[in-house]
């Protein structure tokens, strides 16, 4: 039953190739989406920490809008609504992007902006958790405000928030599956196609699920390694992150090793 991957589909290709092509689209969306989101997140997160001004207001508005609408709705707005709202010529350019890029590009933009808003909140939390003395000391050394952020504040904040960024990275690859609604044939969609072609629903979904599990494990390991390398000794973002001793020494309860979930949007 699980050997369906080595059978040939109606197009002559192995179903394994179908699944791998789906994985390729998933990874492409997740990889590029993550780096765009990271860039947006740092830029907006820094502006969120300003006291006043247009940039601060704009950053706040962006975060509010993109965190308070469902991902699928945002995707439909980018894919269906944006080309209609733009001037006719620009709208037609968007609509005439050849497949599969016509669906991939909106999905990538959507995922980047959606995740970017969430990363921005983490960056802001990281910056606000830094001791004030860091910025003050940097100014006292004669650094300009932009240099204070670029050389002192942001690098330290980023090193602190690696653990909470793990859940955002996991979110990116999971959210790529939403792109199937506009016709990106990524992993989940490909699993469905295989199940429809072979009627081996269980095997098709089991393989895709296995790949998702492997991805999750890989992301988790990778982020642990990055965190171990970048962690600032003695400086942790929140006190609640430390592990606790078991409450009662009854032998009933053993200490748990799993880190706190980063309260998705506190």
């Amino acid at each position: 039953m699980f050997d369906i991957l080595f059978e040939r589909g109606p197009d002559g290709a192995l179903y394994l190739v179908w699944l791998l092509s789906g994985l390729g689209w998933t990874l492409a969306l997740a990889f590029f989406g993550w780096w765009f989101a990271f860039a947006i997140g740092i830029f907006v997160g820094v502006n969120r920490t300003r006291q006043r001004g247009l940039a601060s207001f704009g950053a706040r508005l962006y975060v509010e809008v993109f965190r308070n609408t469902p991902l699928l709705v945002q995707l439909f707005l980018w894919y269906f609504v944006l080309p209609e709202l733009l001037p006719v010529a620009a709208g037609n350019v968007l609509k005439q992007i050849p497949p599969p890029w016509g669906a991939f590009v909106p999905a990538l933009i959507c995922l980047s902006f959606y995740t970017g808003a969430r990363v921005a909140e983490q960056v802001r939390a990281g910056i606000e958790a830094l001791p004030r003395g860091q910025g003050e000391a940097a100014s006292a050394l004669g650094l300009k405000p932009s240099q204070v952020y670029r050389l002192v504040i942001v690098p330290q904040a980023l090193r602190m928030i690696v653990p909470s960024l793990t859940s955002e990275v996991m979110g990116v690859y999971k959210n790529t599956s939403v792109a199937l609604t506009i016709g990106v044939i990524e992993l989940t969609a490909q699993a469905r196609q295989i199940s429809e072609a072979t009627f081996q629903t269980f095997a098709a979904f089991a393989w895709a699920t296995l790949i998702y599990l492997t991805l999750a494990l890989a992301v988790y390991q990778l982020m642990s390694v990055i965190d171990a390398r970048l962690k600032i000794p003695g400086l942790q973002p929140t006190a609640s992150r430390r592990t606790r001793k078991p409450p009662l020494d009854t032998g009933l309860i053993s200490p748990s090793k799993v880190a706190l979930p980063s309260g998705d949007r506190s």
């Binding site: 609408t69 469902p70 699928l72 439909f76 998702y212 409450p247 309260g263």
Partner: protein, 226 residues
């Protein structure tokens, strides 16, 4: 570009309202199922019950690594086969998209609520257990009267935030062609051809609901921390 005409949204309002009611019902049901099951999963791990704790841990890890759409498909396409197999007939028993959505969201959210409650359980100071013991409360009374109320209070902002995300995620029942708020907007736009207005209206509705709920959670969080 045609001029936007939002009067079509008013005409579609009753239908959209029905969709929204479905979204809210799904959210509420998933919240209740998820909380009950999530608390049980968290307690199983907290007490390190043999075997059960391992199963709970694997279940939570599995649900948290797989996209929700994938889980929806699992239940939608495989539950009929499994039920058919178990009932002996061997023939698939259709359980319908609506039932699939309720079951899936409940089971899926349980994994997320479980992690939140577990984090709350770990944050209770040791002295609370010792004090309960000094008052000679039994294990059940300790948890029911002392520990769990504090856990719920401490993590309620995170729980509510997760519930807002859950409400947003209910829009994914679109892949099962159900008529939630987004599904209603989508189906209406196919009838009246006003896709732009319908989707913008749905987005605005989601935004208003979620952002006011977020404001409330932020207010509540400030109150609890004080």
């Amino acid at each position: 570009m045609n001029a936007l005409d939002f009067s079509v949204v008013w005409q579609a309002a009753p239908y959209l309202w029905q969709g929204l009611q479905f979204s809210l019902a799904l959210t509420a049901a998933a919240f209740v199922i998820g909380m009950v099951l999530g608390t049980l999963l968290a307690l199983a791990q907290h007490f390190e019950l043999p075997v059960v704790a391992q199963v709970a841990r694997s279940y939570v890890a599995l649900m948290r690594s797989v996209p929700l759409i994938m889980v929806l498909f699992w239940f939608f396409f495989l539950m009929p086969l499994v039920i058919g197999h178990l009932s002996g007939g061997g023939r698939p028993v259709p359980i319908g998209a609506t039932a699939t959505a309720f079951v899936t969201f409940g089971l899926f959210e349980a994994a997320y609520y479980c992690e939140i409650i577990r984090s709350g359980l770990r944050a209770i100071p040791k002295g609370q257990y010792e004090a309960a013991r000094a008052l000679s409360l039994g294990a059940i009374k300790t948890y029911r009267l002392v520990i769990l109320p504090q856990v719920v209070r401490a993590v309620s902002p995170i729980l509510l935030t997760q519930t807002i995300i859950l409400f947003q995620d209910t829009s994914l029942v679109y892949v099962l062609s159900l008529t939630d708020l987004l599904g209603a907007a989508s189906k209406m736009s196919q009838i009246n051809g006003r896709l732009v207005e319908m989707y913008l209206a749905a987005a605005l509705a989601y935004f208003l609901i979620c952002s006011s709920a977020s404001q409330f959670v932020a207010h509540l969080g400030g109150k609890i921390r004080r």
